[in-house]
């Protein structure tokens, strides 16, 4: 540590005013504050908030909350790989496959994203923000393990520049940056991120007889009879009971790296809520909205997908992951407390609507969150307006 400090100090004069690398001061500063706590403090005068939580700590809490999803996702990638090939694999082997498929995606996401951030910080002469720490981890978690790395890189560049920097950088973005990256791939290169791409098979690998890569969402959309019995009979012979309710709750099924396990997402949610970083109102209301819409469709719907019991909507696809990590993004969500309820409920409702009624988009949570991101300021506007109206009536002037 001391060695690092000395190295940083020894090159510092180059970056200060008048130094030959003055232009890159903010890149240097970012490195410095990332490694060490800054040696400037707030002045004694004035009002001060004395709290250990700053933007960096906030972001780290979210990353810690994602760790269960990440670890489980890594194992699951390997597990699905061996299941699809019909080979028995030990937990160690499964983890190993997961790590060699997942780690490059994470490295590319962070490398490219932070590269773009550094470039913009240098051009715009502002400090590098920590906002990308979370985005850089969210992007790999919403990608299938089989995604080509160049696509991850392009999507990351697109999301950081168009989703964030164009609007003014961290804290100014209208849309969730990680979902912008995913939406970009979804429309630009649909063949690598939709359909049966969720399980990493390996080049020329021979799958076990009877294998199908269909996800629960695809299965439910294609179902002609009873969705639940289709789920239960899926995987007979090579992965018995893979789409049982509790198996799907645990998340031992194909899907994006981090999204499959509702249980791990709930652990993450607990970390976010207890630490006060994420809003429980949004998380709860997304689940409520989806469940309510599911019940409503059960009552009025006519095709097999609408008749799927509502609780299944909560465990298939990426609803839990989206609700916990994407919808709660403090920048793009509604800010008012009532607004959070409306925002979350509408995300849940739209997710189920898109899933059930739109054959082009098997999963709805991504588009639902992006849509509500756009509407969040409007929701706040009306909530504040209603609040004003109520208080004006009470006022006695």
């Amino acid at each position: 540590m001391n060695f690092l400090r000395k190295q940083l100090d020894s090159v510092k004069h180059n970056f200060e005013k008048g130094g030959k690398l003055e232009k890159y001061y903010f890149a240097y500063e970012a490195m410095d504050t990332f490694l060490f706590s800054p040696n400037t403090t707030t002045e004694i005068k004035g009002v001060q908030v004395r709290d250990a939580i700053d933007l960096k700590r906030l972001m780290m809490t979210v990353i810690i909350a994602m760790v269960p999803c990440l670890i489980f996702g890594m194992w699951n990638v390997g597990h699905q790989h061996f299941l699809a090939l019909g080979q028995p694999g030990t937990v160690g082997q499964e983890f190993w496959i997961g790590i060699i498929k997942t780690l490059p995606i994470i490295v590319v996401s962070y490398g490219v994203g932070l590269g773009v951030e550094f470039i913009f910080a240098t051009i715009r002469r502002h400090p590098v923000n920590e906002g990308y720490l979370v985005t850089g981890m969210l992007i790999p978690l919403v990608m299938p393990a089989s995604i080509p790395l160049w696509q991850v890189a392009i999507a990351t560049i697109f999301a950081v520049i168009i989703g964030k920097e164009a609007f003014g950088g961290t804290g100014m973005n209208v849309l969730n940056v990680a979902l912008t990256a995913r939406a970009f791939l979804y429309f630009a290169y649909p063949s690598q991120i939709s359909g049966e791409v969720w399980t990493f098979l390996g080049d020329g690998a021979k799958t076990v007889s009877g294998y199908s890569g269909a996800t629960p969402l695809a299965l439910a959309a294609q179902s002609t009879g009873n969705v639940v019995s289709d789920f239960n009979s899926f995987g007979a012979g090579w992965a018995d009971g893979i789409y049982n309710f509790w198996n799907m709750f645990l998340g031992i099924m194909p899907g994006c790296i981090g999204e499959t396990s509702t249980l791990m997402c709930l652990i993450g949610a607990a970390i976010l809520v207890i630490s006060g970083v994420g809003s429980w109102k949004i998380i709860v209301s997304v689940f409520l909205g989806a469940y309510g819409m599911g019940l409503f469709l059960n009552a009025v719907g006519s095709n097999p997908f609408t008749q799927m019991p509502a609780q299944y909507h909560l465990v298939i696809g990426g609803l839990a992951f989206g609700a916990v990590f994407m919808a709660t993004d403090p920048v793009t969500a509604s800010q008012t407390e009532t607004g959070k309820w409306i925002y979350g409920l509408l995300i849940g409702i739209f997710t189920v609507l898109i899933r059930v009624f739109n054959p082009a988009y098997p999963e709805g949570i991504m588009l639902a969150i992006l849509l509500m991101n756009v509407f969040a300021p409007l929701i706040d506007y009306f909530v504040v307006g209603a609040n004003k109206k109520r208080r004006l009536q009470r006022a006695t002037v």
């Binding site: 168009i162 164009a166 970009f184 429309f187 630009a188 290169y189 649909p190």
Partner: protein
């Protein structure tokens, strides 16, 4: 408004002005950059997003719009003193639609497949904001020759943006230019970017063009 300033200048114009005086050259060059109809005035965006998936229809569309704008500008400018101001819009529409129908007929006669691709958008030139805008803002108050140059300039400015959009969209979206498979011929494996072929992708691309243009020429909208 720069157009109003230009109008005021033109009123004081001397009789013996050379055909391509500095002022007249500005009429052509301004719409290409600081007064671009698409990226600065944000007009004609709908067709700019709709016809630019390939270069060929985009080229034909820009040509069509340039001709229509220039010719209608001349016609309206020649008639400007006799048009009653109450019914000027309908007179303008009648003249514009005359030119549009002529362009449409020529396209149908000589490049039928492109005409099919452009479908309604040729007809919609009639209501294109650029054409109407130039007639109202320029041709109604200026002589035929400057009006002609103004129409040409704005048509070219529109065409330039269309060609840039179509170039990027066709090259990176479909891997070809004017239908010629560039990447396949060069032997580079290339996977087309589906987003660029959607109108939404074109809208983002247009935004990037505006961003680049404004950071180069320092243009800021005045409030």
């Amino acid at each position: 408004m720069s157009t109003e300033a230009a109008v005021a200048e033109e009123v004081k114009e001397k009789k013996s002005e050379p055909l391509l005086s500095k002022k007249n050259r500005k009429l052509i060059s301004n719409p290409l950059d600081i007064d671009n109809p698409v990226t600065v005035q944000i007009l004609g965006v709908c067709s700019a997003l709709a016809v630019t998936t390939q270069m060929k229809p985009a080229f034909v569309m820009s040509l069509g719009l340039t001709i229509v704008t220039a010719c209608s500008n001349v016609a309206i400018s020649a008639l400007r003193n006799t048009i009653p101001s109450r019914i000027r819009i309908i007179v303008q529409l009648a003249i514009v639609s005359l030119w549009v129908i002529m362009v449409d007929q020529i396209l149908k006669a000589y490049v039928y497949d492109v005409s099919k691709q452009l479908s309604v958008f040729v007809g919609l030139i009639i209501t294109n904001c650029i054409v109407m805008g130039r007639l109202e803002a320029y041709a109604m108050a200026n002589k035929p020759w400057p009006s002609f140059l103004d129409g040409m300039g704005n048509g070219l400015g529109y065409g330039m943006i269309l060609m840039i959009l179509a170039f990027v969209r066709e090259l990176f979206g479909a891997g070809s230019l004017f239908g010629f498979k560039v990447f396949a011929t060069l032997g580079i494996p290339y996977q087309g970017n589906g987003l660029l072929l959607l109108p939404a992708g074109a809208c983002i691309l247009l935004g990037i063009i505006i961003w680049v243009q404004r950071s180069i020429n320092g243009y800021r909208e005045s409030h």
